[in-house]
Symmetry: D2
Subunit: 135 residues, 4 copies
């Protein structure tokens, strides 16, 4: 399961582009980090909301995927992100967690924090779909 | 107003990194395009949900900003994105539109389509905040 | 199809309790109205956000249901509501519209307005699921 | 603060109509219960998504309000609800919790469970606004 997720992560051109790193892969729980650089910023120099959202979406997606059958695929149906405070940090950590894993749909919660995990920058609620036929 | 938005857009390291281009700036309506390349993909080679979300967030943000006072700034409070179908296209167009502009909060709707505008890949509902003191 | 939806609506104890009325049933489009009374208010005497949300959820649900096979059922997966302005009106009209109808998931957009349809009180984005086995 | 919230709750015609009861009021945390009856059901006899949403919205709203200045008021800006499983219970408990309380905006998380708190029926992410002038 870990290998399946790591392989899929490595095929995501965008994750490599962001310099994102997969640091935790457990059943129902995935963590991804990303280091600050100027190419990931909004107009005030903080992490862009799009970067924050991208990595926590992927963390939620793989958390869901970790509980899906081997011959399946995961797709983001929808998500909502609340931006609690500007992501003013050298490194951000996105955590995705499964709330309920169903046959077709999986509900996840995510959060993006600083390295200590104490300052929350954003929270996510996401719905993921299990696609049965490999694509 | 157009200049203010273009300048702010140019300061977003992440938008340049994505190769995103600001193509329409009107009062309450902004459009941004982005061309496909391998660095913007998810594991199946389509546009990454994070890229799709990033550019429509920015389109909504500047649509809101276009109706805010000059000495203000815009911040994304929250958004929700529905992924209608995989963004399988050479170029995507994100449109952000103001639904209601208030003193503090502005509500926007966004959508991401192909170049013709006929195939909708994603829709967004977003809340933007007007920050009075320039930061 | 209209009969199927009307029958289902009539079985919703809560819709009757609210005095909600089904006024339009077309393929992919449903409208429901509700008249103001003191039992539907929040602390300032306007329509309660919960009432506003309830009827637009149902409008979206039946809009989705109108495009599903006969031997199926509809379930709300999730929704998001933006409250544009206080619902200060004698009567509110909720409209639910299908954006994309899929085999399992249907995406809808909804809005709640006054009787003229000109003043928007709330907007909704919703995901509905088609449940194949009748329950 | 408790009295202020209880008084406001009692002025909500809709909460009384639902038979909802305020059972916990702490700083940043509010719980509301509601008992099952036929008038609160959807077409399958379970709690209606609208009822579930209404009470957790109010729980979040008052959780936010508990941390606002005395001469202020609270307004729901937006919320998103995920329906994890059908609310098949005799009594539901909605809990609203403050994630971050700001001068203007407060972010809350909510959940609706059975009486034991173990079975989660729905989760909410909400944004509340502090309105300074009493209305």
């Amino acid at each position: 399961m870990e290998k399946r997720i790591k392989d899929s992560f490595d095929r995501q051109g965008f994750m490599q582009y962001l310099g994102a790193e997969l640091i935790t892969v457990k059943e129902g729980l995935v963590r991804i980090t990303c280091e600050h650089n100027e190419q990931l910023t909004q107009q005030h120099g903080f992490f862009h909301a799009g970067v924050v959202t991208s990595i926590v979406d992927v963390a939620c997606g793989y958390a869901a995927y970790s509980m899906m059958p081997e011959d399946s695929n995961v797709l983001t149906v929808e998500f909502k992100t609340n931006f609690i405070r500007p992501a003013n940090a050298k490194k951000i950590v996105a955590e995705g967690k499964v709330i309920k894993s169903g046959r077709t749909l999986t509900f996840c919660e995510g959060r993006v924090t600083d390295e200590t995990g104490e300052t929350v920058f954003a929270t996510m609620m996401a719905t993921m779909a299990c696609i049965k036929d490999k694509r």
